[in-house]
């Protein structure tokens, strides 16, 4: 199925309307288009509002997550994150109101109310999140009213998440829906006082592969306690103590900047952007957190931790860098935060980043990305498989980092792949994560399988 599109002129995709969503660093004068809805028929790698909301709230371990809609939406998001829990496993269950035709015709509110009653009497959760889906938005079920009634009936938080999929193909809108639900959850009841502490909240951390635990270990070592993470390994009770923190550190900006801004507005808590992906980023983030506290002892301990860890991991990473120097890499991930972190890490490993794309990046984030890349590198918003294939082949990519859908595509082309998605099982944060990351890149880029694959094709297509 060949067709006559090419990248030669620096930014031509296969569908002309997508041209402005692809730029070549150093060549294009215009800025990238990225606020657009996905183009119909273009096989976007994006998901939906519901998906965005669901993945942000999923790691709240002891809450019940009830998806109000027909079965599919719940099925596809059952236990899809690699977020770990230190206690409750409730979040790994997937509850659906499983709407049937008669519910769609006559309204799903009675069934929703019955489902809420049922899960509460079976599990006695501290809170229930009720997610709206496309159909529910369409038939006009008043989930706010149903949740309010049920909340009064049961005396617990039952929080509507307004995440009808058709609101946007952009997960960012779903992140916002989740953020609003979180703000509702943590708002103290009238008369309730949350005690102020010297602890910090860790926003945009989902405890994939235990990442929250690792960073918490660093912070504890330098004398700082974590109040709660949003939302990795969090509980409803711990989230409700969030207003008592003295600082918010924000990692995944796509989902959590809005929360940080509002926590500052409502509770006067300042925030710091941090990034624990990559050794340098981790060191820098620890220093800035220590500086915020301003305590000489904390600063001293931070420096000694950084020195110890850097001494430990630098030689290990150097061994991988030796193998990886000069290899070419492509990055296609959900958010720009992750893309930026990955560019830095790939470059630290001596690799050249020749393609970077995201599903949900913003204009200024793409400016940052372009600034990090060398001339001729491609930057793309909301890419489709046809485009990704051309980038990978034309730019002779050795290894790609991205999500599941990109993985099989890379393998089909005989290209290595690093999983950097919300399902991954490995801890890629902090100093240990930097080593794991280097190893992940190495084992796939330099795998012996590629030479057999390449030898088998000799340029011919099967």
């Amino acid at each position: 199925m060949e067709h006559d599109c090419s990248l030669a002129s620096g930014g031509t995709g296969c569908i002309s309307e997508r041209q402005n969503s692809i730029i070549t660093t150093g060549k294009n004068k215009s800025r990238i288009h990225c606020a657009d809805d996905s183009l119909a028929g273009a096989v976007s790698q994006r998901a939906c509002v519901f998906c965005g909301a669901r993945v942000v709230l999923n790691p709240i371990t002891d809450a019940i997550h009830l998806v109000h809609g027909p079965i599919g939406c719940a099925t596809y998001t059952w236990d899809i994150r690699g977020s770990l829990s230190s206690d409750s496993e409730m979040y790994r269950h997937s509850f659906s109101t499983d709407l049937k035709e008669k519910d769609v015709v006559f309204g799903g509110e009675p069934k929703l109310a019955a489902c809420i009653d049922e899960v509460i009497s079976k599990y006695h959760p501290p809170a229930v999140f009720v997610y709206s889906t496309c159909v529910v938005g369409m038939i006009g079920d008043d989930i706010i009213a149903v949740c309010k009634d049920a909340s009064e009936r049961h005396g617990i938080d039952i929080i509507p998440v307004e995440s009808s999929g058709f609101l946007s193909g952009n997960k960012i809108v779903g992140y916002r829906a989740a953020a609003e639900a979180l703000m509702k959850l943590i708002r103290p009841k009238p008369g309730e006082v949350i005690e102020k502490t010297r602890k910090l909240n860790f926003l945009g951390e989902y405890n994939l592969g235990g990442e929250k635990w690792l960073i918490e270990r660093y912070l504890n070592e330098i004398g700082i306690e974590v109040n709660v993470a949003f939302t990795g390994d969090s509980t409803v009770a711990a989230l409700k103590r969030a207003p008592g923190s003295c600082l918010n550190i924000v990692q995944c900006t796509g989902s959590m900047h809005w929360v940080a801004t509002n926590l500052e507005k409502e509770y006067g808590i300042p925030y710091l952007d941090v990034n624990f992906f990559g050794a340098e980023n981790t060191a820098d983030s620890l220093r800035r957190i220590a500086a915020f506290y301003g305590d000489p002892e904390i600063i001293r301990r931070a420096e000694s931790l950084i020195e110890r860890e850097m001494n430990r991991i630098t030689p290990i990473i150097a061994r991988y860098r030796k193998k990886l120097t000069g290899k070419r890499t492509a990055i296609y991930v959900g958010g720009a935060f992750k893309a930026v972190a990955l560019i830095r890490q790939m470059k630290d490993l001596g690799m050249e980043v020749v393609v970077t794309g995201t599903q949900t990046g913003k204009q200024e984030e793409y400016d940052t990305i372009s600034g990090l890349l060398s001339e001729g590198a491609i930057v793309v918003d909301d890419a489709n498989p046809a485009e990704i294939e051309r980038f990978l082949l034309d730019l002779k990519v050795d290894v790609m980092a991205g999500g599941v859908k990109e993985r099989v595509l890379a393998y089909k082309l005989g290209i290595g792949f690093v999983d950097h998605n919300h399902e991954r099982k490995e801890c890629l944060a902090g100093f240990d994560g930097a080593v794991t990351f280097a190893r992940e890149v190495y084992i796939t880029t330099c795998s012996p399988v590629w030479k057999h694959l390449k030898a088998s094709i000799g340029g011919e297509e099967l």
Binding site: M1, V43, K100
Partner: protein, 462 residues
């Protein structure tokens, strides 16, 4: 069922907790992907197509491109025709299919989109398109992925089938089985030297040998020209005993064109394979090929070797109705009497078909339709199941209750090789049986010393 309060007590609940089935258009995608030159478009919001891609990518480990009309809020209110047309423009341009399958979503059906009219209008505006467009209504509130698969297969046949002269090519209609099993069924027919049209044939489109390229539309699949001649076939063999009449492709061919339907179980298990072989032998008027006699002999030999181990198995079988029916047969004929038989589908003929098979068993199994994993787990634990047989959804049986699962069916997302799971024919049955028996043995040898010590030793601590 007789002495067990099965369906009535296990699923008199509103909420679906941990889904055993997936959504209706997903099954349609698989069926469409089995047609030569086909591409699929999902009419709905962006998330649906992305989820379905993800589910299929994880199972088949192949790129599975599905376009979306990416409906947003405005179109949801005003109608999706503009977006559908744009999606058609783009997907036809980039993919250049000869057939485009359109599946509707819950959203599109709730909006009341008139697909036939919109497609007619599009084709009138683009008279020389050279592409067949087939639309199937697949709202998840009406059926599971199993029904979506049958409905789509039937729609494809109905679209192409034309009255034609009689010929010798038999029709073979398959349910959602693995590409490896499709290949085995084709091999068996090859041994008989029978000509056939097998639909939908995704054995090559969803399981590609490495070729160095990603094909936007992978080579392979049932040829539409062959489908159009299905009405002239002497007979249809359909592996669809559980298929509801209204969705049955084979019944359609019988009622519309008088092609005799032989409805058989999936050929897994000696009895079920025998039925298929006998039918083929009868149709061709040829004796059973020597090779198949050998394979049957090896299977019987293996059944004797394993029967005492298998008798210790108390399987909980779950999944798509057709697969569950076949697996129930193979378990019973090997002395592993099922204690739970469950399917997420509410529509199939499974229950009526299974009832006579289990009526003589010493213990009556739980029989659950419209099952979720909360009900399956509950039944499995209370009935003392020792092994699960089914797809990846049963992972909690192992994780929470220590009951191992022999993976078979769809979807497989926590193991590699879902597309290669081989269970059909005498050879496949033996392969399945080995996996099943060895799962039991692994469990037994891993625990029997400790277990016996606990149970039998005189000095055990009470």
């Amino acid at each position: 069922m007789t002495n067990k309060p099965a369906n009535s007590t296990l699923r008199v609940k509103e909420v679906n907790e941990n889904q055993c089935h997936m959504c209706m258009p997903l099954g349609g995608v698989i069926a469409f992907k089995g047609i030569e030159g086909a591409m699929v478009l999902v009419h709905g919001s962006q998330g649906c197509s992305t989820y379905m891609r993800l589910a299929n990518v994880e199972h088949f480990h192949e790129p599975v491109d599905i376009a979306s009309s990416s409906l947003n809020e405005k179109q949801t209110i005003l109608g999706g025709e503009k977006n559908l047309n744009k999606a058609l423009d783009n997907v036809l341009r980039v993919y250049q299919p000869t057939m485009l399958g359109i599946l509707t979503t819950c959203l599109a059906e709730t909006m009341g989109e008139d697909m036939d009219r919109m497609i007619r209008a599009y084709l009138q505006e683009h008279p020389n398109l050279g592409v067949e467009i087939i639309s199937v209504a697949t709202p998840s509130y009406r059926g599971t992925h199993s029904e979506g698969f049958w409905a789509t297969t039937r729609a494809i046949i109905a679209h192409y089938a034309r009255v034609c002269e009689s010929h010798n090519r038999i029709n073979v209609i398959i349910p959602n089985i693995s590409p490896a099993d499709i290949r085995e069924i084709k091999r068996i027919m090859g041994l008989f030297g029978v000509e056939y049209t097998l639909i939908p044939d995704f054995s090559m489109t969803l399981d590609r040998p490495y070729g160095g390229r990603y094909q936007k539309i992978p080579t392979g699949g049932t040829s539409p020209a062959d489908v159009s001649r299905m009405p002239g076939a002497p007979v249809t063999i359909q592996f669809g005993l559980t298929c509801p009449d209204a969705l049955s492709p084979g019944l359609y061919l019988e009622q519309q064109f008088g092609v005799r339907l032989i409805n058989l179980p999936i050929p897994i298990g000696v009895d079920n394979v025998d039925q298929f072989i006998a039918a083929l032998s009868h149709i061709c008027g040829k004796p059973v090929p020597e090779q198949l006699t050998l394979e049957r002999g090896w299977l019987l030999d293996g059944m004797a070797d394993a029967h005492k181990y298998n008798a210790e198995g108390r399987p909980a079988i779950y999944g798509e109705p057709e697969m569950v029916y076949a697996l129930t047969g193979v378990c019973i004929e090997n002395g592993a009497e099922p204690v739970v038989i469950a399917s997420g589908s509410p529509h199939s003929k499974l229950k009526d078909l299974v009832r006579p098979m289990v009526s003589d068993l010493a213990e009556q199994p739980f029989l659950i339709e419209e099952a979720d994993f909360a009900s399956i787990e509950h039944a499995a634990v209370s009935a003392g199941a020792t092994i699960g047989v089914g797809h990846s959804g049963g992972k909690f049986l192992t994780e929470r209750h220590g009951i191992p699962v022999t993976r078979v069916g769809y979807p497989i997302h926590d193991r590699i090789g879902g597309q290669r799971i081989f269970s059909a024919g005498y050879a496949g049955t033996l392969a399945f049986l080995d996996r099943f028996t060895n799962t039991l043995l692994e469990q037994k040898y891993g625990s029997y010393r400790e277990k016996k010590k606990d149970e039998m030793a005189l000095n055990r601590v009470m």
